[in-house]
Symmetry: C2
Subunit: 144 residues, 2 copies
DNA sequence: TGCTATACGTACCAAAAGGTGAGAAATGAC
DNA sequence: GTCATTTCTCACCTTTTGGTACGTATAGCA
């Protein structure tokens, strides 16, 4: 996280996340739907996806190399792959400007913004409980 | 998801998630902390961790084989590995009963519960936007 | 005297994920 | 003419991940 949370999540994002949390869940769940949801969770719960989501939420529209420079440790291959996947899932738009050298802009869609907002609580949790987790690990590793 | 969300997240969980969302974020972030948070996110944003978290939140205390039976597709090895990792991170407790045959109970700690609550918004998002994502994929795959 | 049940550890192997480096395509700067 | 620029794709290789199968300990039961 390069900026405080308020830079990345505005009042609307937080309001939407709260609406999600307050909302009535569906009464019964089709096992077929269940499988698809687990599948979807498996897809979006990916390190690079999460980091790109966060970055684009914070910075808005960015081009390929700019993203690469700002996400520490990502290889070009992973960047291309993750962006393509997110585009396929409808999380971001990819705009190719037919100029030379090529210029491609990436930006979150409303769907991408809503996912980012949904993850807001997880980021906050991670920030708040970082030390607790570190301490738990130290304790675990210490006992024999 | 085998049960509606209200089965897994009670009013307290949701209230806590809302408190997270409403809360003031820290003003500035140490790059060292940033690295650790990204690291932590990478660790918990794992398919099996998420599914175990969900299951234990829903069912409470469970023993090893019971978990294995209820999480579709997990191998014994992955189950052991994921449980051990979660225990190390302080997300769950492992209680060995010295009986024969052995009996080991797993249950979430308050920290585990809070993480589960933090993921509440993501589950809701996945449920609500499943069809949107599927449609986006179909559209993406269709255009040559 | 086997046989079963439970919760693993471990060794070996296959599959998947990911890194690296080359190349492609077109144009403006030198 | 050639060099850099940008956004990739592709092929090759290494690393990581995960599956399978087998071993272990021990009390109760037939």
């Amino acid at each position: 996280m390069t900026k405080p949370l308020e830079t990345r999540f505005d009042a609307d994002d937080i309001a939407q996340a709260e609406r999600y949390l307050a909302e009535e869940p569906p009464a019964e769940i089709d096992p077929r739907v269940e499988r698809l949801v687990n599948d979807l969770i498996g897809r979006i719960a990916d390190k690079w996806t999460l980091l790109l989501l966060e970055l684009l939420e914070e910075k808005g529209t960015l081009r390929f190399t700019a993203i690469g420079r700002q996400v520490d440790g990502i290889s070009q291959k992973m960047l291309t792959q993750t962006l393509r996947q997110m585009e396929r899932d409808g999380l971001l738009t990819r705009t190719v400007h037919p100029v030379v050298p090529p210029r491609v802009d990436y930006a979150l869609t409303p769907l991408g913004n809503s996912l980012s907002a949904a993850f807001c609580g997880v980021w906050v949790w991670a920030e708040r409980n970082l030390e607790t987790v570190e301490a738990a690990r130290a304790r675990f590793d210490a006992r024999d």
